[in-house]
Each structure stands twice: as C-alpha cells, then as structure tokens.
Amino acid sequence: MITLDNVSKMYAGGTEAVKEVTLEIPKGELCILVGPSGCGKTTTLRMINRLISLSSGRILLNERDINQMDPNELRRGIGYAIQEIGLFPHMTVEYNVAAVPRLLGWPREKWRSRVKELLELVGLTPPEEFGKRYPSELSGGQRQRVGVARCLGADPPVLLMDEPFGAIDPITRERLQDEFLRIQEEIQKTIVFVTHDLQEGLKLGDRIALMRDGYLIQEGKPAELLAKPKDDFVRNFVGTDRTLKALTLVRLREVLDDSPPTTEPEVTVSQALQKMEDHGVRFLPVVNGDGSFAGWVNRGGLRNLDGDKQVSEVLMRARKVGRRDMPVNEALSLMLESAIGNLAVVDRHDKYVGVLTFRRLYDIVQENYLEEE
C-alpha cells in the first residue's frame, strides 16, 4: 500500500510542482495519475521512489516512511518503467531484465530462470533467443516489453510506470495495454501509472487521480470520474463524449436484459404473434433448441404473413451478436450498424443469454451518467 500524506514539492526557484497531494493506493490496485502536461503527475511519481525529494508531507510504503529508508534499497524494491524505456544498450536483453536481481546479488541460476519466466510473461518467446539480443536489435514494441519485464525483475510488490506505452504506434500500444491488463490480473501488483491519455487511464486504472497545476483535483473509480465530474476542469478533461467513454467501462453482461420472452424456430407465425401479444412486446428473439441464437421476428413483419408458416422460414437472421464480455461501446456500435436496433447477446459457448435494446441503454445512461442540470 502506498500512502501520500499532504505531499508537496517546491523547487529552489519557488515553483511548486506538487501541492498538498493526499492519496492512498491500496495493495494490488492500479492507480492512474492523469492530467495535462506540467500538472505534477510525473513529479508525484518520482517522489515515491525518491528520485525527487519531498519538500513537505510524508510518503508511506506499507506503513514505512520512505525517508527513513536507504534510497537505493527503496528503489530496488520498486519496479520502475519510463516512456523512454532507458534500456542499457551495451547489455543483452537478459542482462537488462536481470539488472535489479543482480544488484540484489541473486545467484546466477536464480536470475537466469527469472529472466526466462519474465520474457515469457511479456511474450518475448522463445526467451533463449530474445535474451541474447541487444536492445538495438529489437523493435519499439519489443523494447517496451523488455522495459516492462525489467521493472518486474526482482518481483517487486510496487511498480511505478511513467507512460510506459507512450512512444509506440497506436496498434502496438493497444495490444500492449491488453497484455498488460492480463499480466496485472495475474501478478496483482500495486501500481502507480502516469499517463496523459485519459482513454488509457480509463482502460487500465482501478482508480484515477486527476491532477492540475500540482493539485489533485479528483480521485476515484473511472466510472465515478465520468459520471460525476467535480468541476468544469474535470468535465472538460473527460470531454463532452464522457457518456460514450463511460460505455467503454461497462460490459454487456452488466446491462443486458434477460427478461424478454423468446421463441423457438419450430413454432408457427400465428403462435409467435400470439406470444408477442400476450407479453406486450413487438419482437421476439428466436432461440434454437441447443440454446444458440437463430434470429429475430417482429410483429410488423409477421402480421401480413401466412399464419401457418414456421418461424424458421421467415425469421430475420442477425449478422452480428454481442458477447457477454464485450464493452458496451462496441455493442452500441453493432446496434447502430444493424437494421434491427436490438442486439442479441451470447455467452462464450454461443448460447443466447439476453438482449440489449436502445431503450435499455438509454435508461442505464440516464440512471448512472447524467448529472442533474
């Protein structure tokens, strides 16, 4: 756990980079420090491993005051990754990743197997081959991976990361973020992560601390920040499309509606119409006997048809279905693309689990993300 207690940084010239920041990062959480450039987020980060000294206040690492600790020992216990990566060009990937373990005097076999493990974790396989390369022989994305592996070197409980995915192309960046989330799920480190990119923060962060001019303006879960911006600065920073951004944080499984009645492909058109009338709905999802989704029927479409026909002959097949774990913004996109306006949701085994309608989406947004005017 990291505790920042009234932390300030004043430089000799009198400029205050960080002003009375109080922040608590619980064990195992990833806290994003975000804000415009010059807001003090990097300074705050660098004070945690004492690369920058505090002017006032205290920082506690697992209840221990960092100022009472030897700075080099403190730093060896904290993983550190920066945007420029700073790989040692005269050392192989293996020695780069093993830098901290070797500083700590691990025996050779121990750090070797650790390096292998880490290179596999960050997807640089086969590790035997990548371990022998020099940084100049790697692509930008691969270097970032080595940077991440290196900061995990001695398995520190705490990581400090300063825009670790900053200097790469958007596609690689997206992929590294996804992998990083997967890694974090596995290793559960306490992480302070600096970025200027809100989208990245929303995607990765368990909590987000928004800074401006050295002050911590608002701190909370990503959804809270989007739903309840504290002032105009936060509102501007999260942007007028904050509702759409909020949808990226919600998974379909959290909002899907499993209450609407369904029908089977074997029933007749008149039976289906009867069912819609009974339930007061205008459409029915058609679900096969094995639980898979077959398509849609709606009242307007069936009304003029021969009532004895089977639903299977007349149903509208849906080209796209939503998956339970899909972020709702992607689901919305699918809904806008399809002519039907409703989205059937299936689980991992392609079994139908419910629907998402525009009406439902609207209600959710109204409920959670609309400020009182």
Binding site: I82, P89, M91, L103, G153
Partner: protein, 248 residues
C-alpha cells in the same frame, strides 16, 4: 575493410622507402644515396616511441579524471574554467608548447614529454567529457530508478558506454603525438626528428630527411591501426555499428 587495406598499403610504402634507403650502401665514389645505418633508425624509433608512450600515459592518467569531473554538474565553476582552458589550449600550436616547457624545464626530454602530454590532454579530456555526456539521460534515469548507486552507474553504465568515444580520443591524440614528437629532434632530444633535423642541417639532403620522415609516418599509421583494433575490441557489442567519431 577498405580502411585496413589503405593503411596496410601506406605502411608498406613507408617501410619500403626506409628499407630501400638504408639497404643501398655507398658504392665506390658515389656517395649517393647517403644512408643512415639501420641500427640508428631503430634506436631513434625506440626513443620516439618512449616519448610518445610516456606522454600519452601521463595524458590519459590526467585527462580521463578531468574529463570525468567535467561531466559532474556539482562543480559548475570548475567545469567552466577547465572547459575554457581546454578549448583555448587546443588553439595553440604544438611548437609553442614545446618551447614554452623548454623555457620552464630546460631543454630536454622532460620538457618534450610534458609538452606532448599537455597537448594530448586536450583530445582525451574532450572525448571523455563528450562520451559521458552523450549517454542518454533516460538510461541514467532508469539506472537510478532501479536502485543503482552513484558509482555503479558510473562503472556499469556511463564508462562502458563512453569507452568508444574515449578510445577514439586516445587514438587521435596518439597519432597526433607521433608527428609532434618529431619536433623534439629539432631541439636535440632525439627520436626520428633527429634524423630529419640532421638531413636539413647538412644542407637539405632529401634522402636523409626521408629516412627520418618515412619511419615516422609508418609509426603513426601502425599505431593508428593497432589502437583502432583496440577500440573495436573494447566497444561493447550492443553499441557496435553506431558510428563513433573523435570529437577532438
């Protein structure tokens, strides 16, 4: 590869000239070409080398620490002062140094060695400074952030990365020194310059002058090649291929 070939052929030419000049002894009445005995040339080469090597070692011993100190930002006044001295020092001609130190120390080996060392100091200081300064600050930041101590950063990061540039400085200055040391012959300290001086003194006899000049050139080319090999050998593999040029 092309560079090595050029060096080797130059060397062959210089050595060839020397051997040719010294091997044809005087035939009958003809006193041409007049030659310097091979033993004499070898002993002058040895003197010459001593001057160069001793001066170079002194220069490295002093220049490396100074160049290193200049990169430490804790002493800005000293830094600026030294930088000034180093920069203006290099604009003075070598001869000035030799005469200056001869005036102080008296004409002799010591004066020549000190003059050579001081002149050689400059490229070494500058290259050491430039080599360390050129280390990417992000690398230093990463090293510090992972808990390397001050001297671990110096020893494991800064110096290894600066080595190619420092070596380039040593190499340039050594070659420079071989030529400069020839001037020592003019003031009677010996070395290959002595043969050149004699050739000039007895009426500008070109083949004698050449018998001093050609070995001097051969020596410079050889040392350049040897130090080039050393430079490549001490350059860490990961930074090979990145072009390193002498800053001096």
């Amino acid at each position: 590869m092309r560079r090595t070939l050029t060096l080797l052929s130059l060397l062959a030419i210089f050595i060839g000239i020397t051997i040719w000049m010294t091997s044809i002894g005087p035939i009958g009445e003809r006193a041409w070409p007049r030659t310097v005995p091979p033993g004499r040339i070898l002993s002058e080469i040895s003197t010459h080398m001593q001057l160069v090597v001793v001066a170079e070692l002194i220069a490295i011993g002093i220049g490396l620490p100074i160049g290193f100190l200049l990169t430490r930002k804790r002493i800005p006044v000293l830094t600026r002062l030294l930088e000034g001295v180093v920069n203006t020092g290099q604009t003075l001609p070598t001869l000035c140094f030799i005469f200056l130190f001869s005036a102080i120390l008296g004409i002799g080996r010591e004066a020549v060695i000190v003059a050579l060392a001081v002149y050689t100091l400059l490229p070494i200081v500058r290259n050491t400074y430039a080599g360390i300064k050129a280390v990417d600050p992000a690398i230093r930041d990463a090293a510090r952030g992972m808990g390397m101590s001050y001297w671990q950063i110096v020893g494991r990061i800064e110096l290894p990365l600066a080595v190619p540039v420092i070596m380039a400085g040593i190499r340039t200055s050594t070659v420079l020194n071989v030529g400069t040391a020839a001037v020592a012959g003019l003031i009677g300290v010996g070395g290959l310059g002595a043969i050149i001086a004699e050739g000039i003194a007895i009426g500008g006899i070109i083949e004698i002058v050449l018998q001093g000049a050609a070995p001097t050139a051969a020596l410079a080319v050889t040392l350049d090649a040897v130090l080039g090999a050393v430079e490549r050998a001490v350059t860490p593999r990961g930074i090979k291929g990145t072009e390193v040029s002498a800053v001096a």
